[in-house]
Subunit: 246 residues, 2 copies
């Protein structure tokens, strides 16, 4: 509990290798995470070579962690292994559909998070790259992912070389609903988001970007409608190419 | 690490309440999980009342844990709160698309898994219900989830009243790929799945179900093509109704 309470994402890593034995132990113990029908519908591609990091970096919008971290993990929703097994055992698989993608993505993401929890408990720093979903076709090509394999999460992993401030979080009552979903009144929104908007770091952020409100930073700069729509198309295309959508 | 190494999913719970303070502490500390742009794109609906469990049970194919567990958590991908905030702050949100759903689902699933790991470290037992994705429209109606909120994970939570055998897992080398994806040869499949097929519990399972292979249990009984395709349609319909797909 204490490790999680004190965690922060780490984007700067010491010039120190992550031992193979430690990494493999973390990857292996994470396999205890619950999984659909015990099928373990995920795979992990481990990137350590400078050459592969160089190739992956543009797919992640050149975030510097990709080149700087000793280890990059790309966790994939994977029905390829299970389907190959079924076909080799006189079984007729029906996993080339959207539900199966969601099942495998769920397995992959739960596994990813156990890995994060365990790695941080060992003192490692990780950063989760949301960019994995932005240009999946590039990642598919670079990592040579076959049909029915789709990248869903990327982690950079290394020993921390920074100790950033912890970021704020919304109060628990903003996140939790009792028995049924209680939709947010304007007053509730003000109450929950007000403290975030008042943080000096966020006020400065709004000022630097010459915006009127913090929310505009998200809608106009970080996650715009135009980008989201283009990347939605890209992701649906990738799901089609990987055989998870008609 | 030890908690995760020894974990098992718990489907039978003692007749003992889960203290509100403990539950809230776990839900709150889990908020430290990394999240896209610190937007926390998830919500949790907490079910404690017998009446609501009764209503949820059929949506989960009447798995007995839903009625028996003291607490049921439905974790939702949630862009509703963020969009309401943006609209209240002169910002124009563009989150009614597939990428935004995947981003919010990712936030929700990572949060869910941190919760699982923390709850188990406190001695609680949890069971992850994959059925959440099977009939999401039912769950949406029962929990009154508004537009841009989609259920993605359900956990039953309580104090364990069983100590089941740990299930097997594939060897690490079956899950991990070095630099690029190395596709599975027939020999590799035999090597990785052989030990699983030889387990007495799995051999008995094949026998009872009058099947020829373990893989057929999955393709013919547990996760059939027909069911997967019907439920894919249901899930895509739900995403449309919730505003995440055209």
């Amino acid at each position: 509990m204490e490790t999680v309470k004190n965690r922060r994402s780490i984007r700067k890593y010491a010039d120190r290798t992550v031992d193979d034995n430690l990494l493999n132990r973390l990857l292996e113990v994470s396999e205890r995470t619950q999984t659909m029908g015990n099928l373990q519908l995920y795979s992990v591609v481990v990137t350590r070579s400078a050459e592969m990091k160089e190739r992956l970096a543009p797919a992640h919008f050149n975030q510097p962690m990709v080149r700087q971290a000793p280890v990059v993990l790309t966790v994939c929703a994977d029905f390829n292994r299970t389907v190959k097994w079924a076909e080799q055992r006189k079984a007729q698989p029906g996993y080339d559909n959207f539900l199966s993608f969601m099942n495998a993505a769920t397995d992959a993401l739960l596994y990813t998070q156990t890995f994060c929890n365990l790695a941080e408990a060992e003192g490692l720093g990780v950063c989760y790259l949301g960019t994995t979903l932005y240009q999946p076709l590039q990642i598919i090509d670079i990592l040579k992912l076959p049909r029915l394999v789709m990248p869903v999460a990327t982690l950079t992993v290394g020993w921390p070389d920074e100790h950033p401030e912890q970021t704020d979080r919304l109060p628990l009552k903003a996140m939790v609903h009792d028995e049924t979903y209680c939709d947010y009144t304007p007053e509730a929104i003000d109450g929950y988001f007000g403290p975030k908007e008042q943080l000096p770091v966020n006020k400065r952020f709004v000022e630097i970007n010459r915006k009127e409100t913090l929310a505009q930073i998200f809608t106009d700069i970080r996650y715009t409608k135009k980008d989201n729509e283009a990347m939605s198309t890209g992701m649906l295309d990738a799901l089609k190419r990987q055989g998870f959508l008609d």
